[in-house]
């Protein structure tokens, strides 16, 4: 039995073979997008390019000195209109490790509370000549609205119940490193699908990369037409878990619920909580993931979350920093005048 203190370095991780650079189109053609607003619209090779780019940062982040200067002199603004701890911290660390000057803006302390419109805020941030803006906002589409108004790359750190692309990318990176591949894997995404931007980005991302994605949740928390995003809806939790290589649990998002969607968290756990007994239906080596923050004892039991042989939850956090470094690097290349990208 592995002890719960096992560090990520010793967790069962496989190093996938990175594609050689010659596999990708040269320069900007490898990732021709100005912003990262969502996974929808990205080609599979563009996603793989970002994943490959992140590998070097995983290596760097495991060294004693975790510093690179490529974003030196650039200003990164993290504009968070919705509370966040881990995503904000992850972007802040990512920016700092690449040498950028990082400024965090919290809605709670901004003029947004004084009634300033989102567009005015966007124009203000733009006038301060940010080189990249990371935005989280509670309304679907808000990040795109800002992106249309500013002259620098915008990274979506979660907009309403729409998309959370860097989460999907870091999840893909985590799966790839732990399983050695993504194509052909059976992935179950379970819980509050309706309110989850993570689920949307992951359904699109993982199905685009060739995984078989199954989703399950109480009917009131399942949106229609998930098939259009490459996922297969299951009638119950067991059907989704059956033979799964990866089990991704989602947080119940009480704060987004207007009205009652489930009778109680206790009853939700009874039907959709990931317990040892339920996990036994998945593959013996199934990987358990959760985007955090977890409601321990509701959608996931602590015994599973803390078992490093099964749980990739801390890996996800680690991959998050590397993934965001890759996104910041790639998206600012044009502005930095990198050869082939300007």
């Amino acid at each position: 039995m592995t002890s719960p203190e096992t560090s990520p370095e010793t967790s069962p991780e496989l190093r996938p073979t990175r594609r050689p650079a010659s596999d990708y189109p040269p320069g900007r053609a490898a990732f021709p997008h100005r912003h990262l607003l969502g996974i929808a619209g990205l080609q599979p090779w563009e996603i793989e390019y970002l994943l490959d780019e992140a590998e070097q940062w995983v290596d760097l982040n495991r060294q004693a000195s975790k510093h690179d200067d490529r974003l030196a002199g650039l200003t990164l603004i993290n504009a968070f209109f919705e509370n966040s701890t881990r995503t904000l911290l992850s972007f802040e660390i990512a920016g700092k490790r690449l040498g950028a000057d990082v400024v965090n803006m919290h809605a709670a302390q901004s003029s947004v509370k004084k009634g300033e419109t989102l567009i005015d805020t966007a124009v203000t941030l733009n006038a301060m000549r940010a080189d990249a803006i990371v935005i989280r906002h509670g309304s679907s589409g808000a990040v795109q609205l800002i992106a249309d108004k500013v002259g620098c790359p915008v990274l979506n750190a979660g907009d309403g119940t729409h998309e959370h692309p860097t989460q999907a990318l870091l999840d893909a990176l985590t799966i790839r490193r732990r399983k050695g591949k993504i194509a052909g894997l059976r992935v179950a995404i379970c819980g509050d699908i309706l309110h989850s931007r993570v689920a949307r980005s992951n359904m699109i991302c993982l199905s685009t990369l060739g995984a078989e994605v199954y989703v399950a949740g109480p009917p009131a928390l399942m949106p229609p037409a998930v098939e259009a995003m490459g996922a297969t809806p299951c009638k119950d939790f067991a059907a989704a878990l059956d033979g799964a290589d990866v089990v991704m649990m989602l947080r119940l998002q009480h704060e987004r619920m207007q009205g009652q969607f489930i009778p109680s968290p206790r009853e939700f756990r009874h039907l959709y909580g990931l317990t040892d007994a339920r996990l036994a239906q998945a593959q013996p080596d199934a990987l358990v993931m959760h985007p955090g923050p977890m409601n321990r004892g509701i959608e996931i039991d602590s015994l599973i979350a803390d078992n490093p042989k099964r749980s990739a939850i801390t890996d996800q956090v680690e991959m998050g920093v590397a993934m965001r470094m890759a996104c910041l690097d790639v998206l600012t290349r044009r502005g930095r005048g990198v050869a082939g990208w300007a």
């Binding site: 419109t117 309304s139 679907s140 589409g141 795109q144 609205l145 931007r197 949307r200 949106p223 259009a228």
Partner: protein, 417 residues
């Protein structure tokens, strides 16, 4: 030539849009005072002023049933001479004085028919003073852009409207199902992560109100029926002989929820845009006569209401300018005749409001629009006559343009060329 306002006016060289003739017939139209005097193969009198229509359609001015703002330049651009103003104003049209004020607000170039709020503050709880508002000029009663949740309130309201012989214009969205939704359930809403409600929110609301009409025999106009299931219900209820009429806007005939892509708030409407299947059903319902009225739903909204994240933006579109050209497209597509088009945009709404307008008939108000049905132009949200350019049809090339508009026999708008 005498130019006194009292001298008769004859519009010549036009093609008259007349009841009983599917397609326009060449002819002239003579106006004395503010009324239509003669129609057909007439010659102008010696003292008449003469207006050369140069081959344009001579049609009744459009009667726009259910607009949210009095926006005269946009209405004149669109050939609309009268509009029924929804009670969703600030302040709400729930008091006789508000109604009286609104009724005079457009005169003389444009007539506003205020719709009395069915309930105080449109809250759906207490009935407003409907009879007093009728005295003040209200031609109909409306529930606003809201559903009356309490069936008891709705029942008593219909009884009361039936007693006063006032039509009741209803918005059909079951509130429990629609909640805070801004989009119809389906792939688009799921992809965009928008609060969504099933299309059945409409048919469930309609089913209840049809049952109440059967009990009360109130004249009810469903302002917008946009789903296959809702249209099937009203089609059956009309066949049963219930006093129902049904409306829609061009947006629901020409756009599906795909138009929401990219979070385009100009496509945020109430009711929300539907699936392609529902859109096809709506087109069929225009063709088979189930739908009686096409209205603009004109609701100009500036950036403060529209340049926001989708769910935070206000619903509504500036539709007055595009009502006629988009509806003319239905004629070009062979779905309806020209005669039927003007029933949908003029005669039927006028009949519902009980006004002597909306048709070329001697004795009727001389609200006349001259239309070049083929004239091409392009919708441009940056250059609209409306007070705001929130059209989901931005950049769309269209055909058909109002070239002159007469209100009560007076020329109020004309374009050159």
């Amino acid at each position: 030539m005498s130019n006194t306002p009292t001298s008769p006016l004859t519009i010549v060289n036009g093609r008259l849009v007349l009841g009983g003739h599917a397609e326009p017939v060449p002819g002239n139209l003579r106006i004395i005072g503010d009324r239509i005097a003669e129609i057909g193969a007439i010659t102008p009198g010696a003292d008449d002023r003469v207006h050369d229509a140069r081959g344009a359609l001579i049609a009744p001015g459009l009667v726009d049933l259910g607009v949210f703002a009095i926006d005269r330049p946009a209405f004149h651009f669109g050939g609309i001479s009268r509009a029924a103003l929804m009670p969703d104003q600030n302040p709400t049209l729930d008091h006789p004085a508000q109604v009286r004020f609104a009724a005079y607000s457009g005169k003389p170039d444009f007539w506003v028919h205020p719709l009395a709020a069915a309930t105080r503050g449109l809250a759906g709880i207490e009935m407003a003073e409907i009879a007093l508002m009728k005295e003040a000029g209200a031609r109909a009663v409306a529930t606003g852009r809201r559903w009356i949740t309490d069936t008891g309130v709705m029942h008593r309201l219909m009884q009361y409207c039936a007693m006063l012989d006032l039509p009741l214009i209803v918005h059909s969205q079951d509130h429990g199902l629609s909640g805070n939704a801004v989009a119809t359930s389906g792939e688009m809403a799921t992809r965009l992560g928008l609060p969504q409600a099933p299309a059945e929110a409409e048919s469930i609301a309609i089913a209840r109100d049809i049952a109440l009409v059967r009990m009360t025999q109130a004249r009810v106009h469903f302002r917008q029926v946009t789903t296959r299931a809702g249209l099937a219900l009203v089609r059956a209820a009309k066949a049963e002989g219930l006093p129902l009429t049904v409306g829609i806007t061009p947006a629901h005939l020409l756009l599906s929820d795909v138009a929401l892509g990219g979070f385009r708030t100009f496509a945020r409407l109430s009711p929300p845009l539907r699936s392609e299947d529902d859109r096809q059903a709506a087109l069929a319902a225009v063709g088979d006569g189930t739908i009686d009225v096409i209205a603009s739903g004109h609701d100009p909204r500036g950036p403060e209401d529209k340049r926001l994240p989708f769910a935070d933006s206000q619903p509504g579109m500036a539709g007055a300018e595009t009502l006629l050209p988009l509806s003319l497209g239905l004629v070009r597509d062979g779905l309806i005749s020209t005669e039927r088009l003007f029933e949908l945009v003029a005669a039927n709404p006028a009949r519902i409001l009980g006004v002597e307008a909306g048709a070329l008939r001697p004795g009727f108000e001389a609200d006349i629009v001259l239309v070049d049905p083929d004239r091409p132009w392009q919708v441009d949200s940056g250059r609209m006559a409306a007070s705001a350019g929130n059209t989901p049809f931005d950049r769309l090339p269209v055909q058909g343009r109002c070239v002159a508009l007469f209100k009560g026999g007076r020329l109020v708008d004309q374009i050159s060329g």
